[in-house]
Symmetry: C2
Subunit: 178 residues, 2 copies
């Protein structure tokens, strides 16, 4: 059975949406998703780099993120034909561990928690595929990287790209539907 | 550069010693390490299985474990010639995340935290070697498993075994000394 490793933030969990909403509210801004396309929020307003990153240090921020559309349905389908691991870069934000664990348990109860991986450098992941929104994680990864579209990566080229979970289903399961 | 993944409990951190001391104290027992050789403490007194496992749910238990002799010195030496990752089975005890992270930061400050991996099923680890006290983690691991002697595994055969960190040094660095 082939193995697919899946990133959490911006792939399963809609980190960006909540981040932008909170930032706009807290700083009286009116940034739209379209305005920050091609870069990270922190790169758009670099003078508030620290404040923008600080949201991630709050476990409550990560605990109630929205699930990205289609991820539950398609990951459940994939899990019938592939071995699924969740590989999330948690080491940059150690305070995120419990929130990430609980979020996965709540929204993806059909996944085995023994298949969660909280790591930093994803070259340690032994899998055939890695679905991720950050191309940096494909460097050193031995399998095939699949770039999940997020506002910040929209201009990156040279990778197999999927825009939605329906694209992921098409890629791995073809015309097969549930 | 070849990569070595290293387990924490019973390899870097002396979980067993503290567990046995606390258990003896709390339950008025006088078990010696020699008496529980070849099995886990929970298998020795199965009627207290739950109480014995409950120690691991206390983050304080894991936070101040003794460092296993030689691990700091030898891992530092190995890190000059090998890529070192720490691979610990944390998913069975989600409350352990922060304690494990802080313990590593305190006792192994020379390691990059991006190379910590908190996981469950270690077949996800992409490394050339895995030093571990639990043979179950060698199943599905693609590299070479190296069994680090702990009381519970003393009777297991069929694996490359190291009794101490000096044995690890000898195995990977030969006669070379710091």
């Amino acid at each position: 059975m082939k193995r697919i490793a899946i990133d959490m933030d911006e792939v399963m969990a809609n980190t960006f949406k909540k981040h932008l909403e909170l930032y706009n509210k807290d700083f009286g801004e009116t940034l739209t998703p379209e305005q920050v396309v091609g870069r990270k929020l922190r790169d758009y307003h670099p003078h508030r780099h620290q404040e923008i990153q600080a949201y991630f240090d709050n476990p409550d921020f990560l605990r109630d993120l929205e699930v990205i559309e289609g991820s539950q349905e398609v990951i459940r389908e994939l899990s019938e034909s592939f071995e699924i691991f969740i590989a999330t870069a948690a080491m940059e934000i150690p305070k995120s561990f419990t929130a990430k664990y609980e979020w996965l348990q709540e929204h993806f109860p059909f996944l085995n928690e023994m298949n969660y991986v909280f790591c930093g450098n994803k070259s340690i992941i032994h899998a055939d595929y890695l679905i991720d929104d950050s191309t940096r994680h494909f460097k050193g990864f031995q399998g095939q990287g699949i770039l999940f579209t997020a506002p910040h990566n929209i201009h990156e080229t040279g990778y197999t790209r999927v825009d939605t979970w329906w694209d992921v289903r098409q890629l791995f399961l073809g015309g097969k539907s549930s």
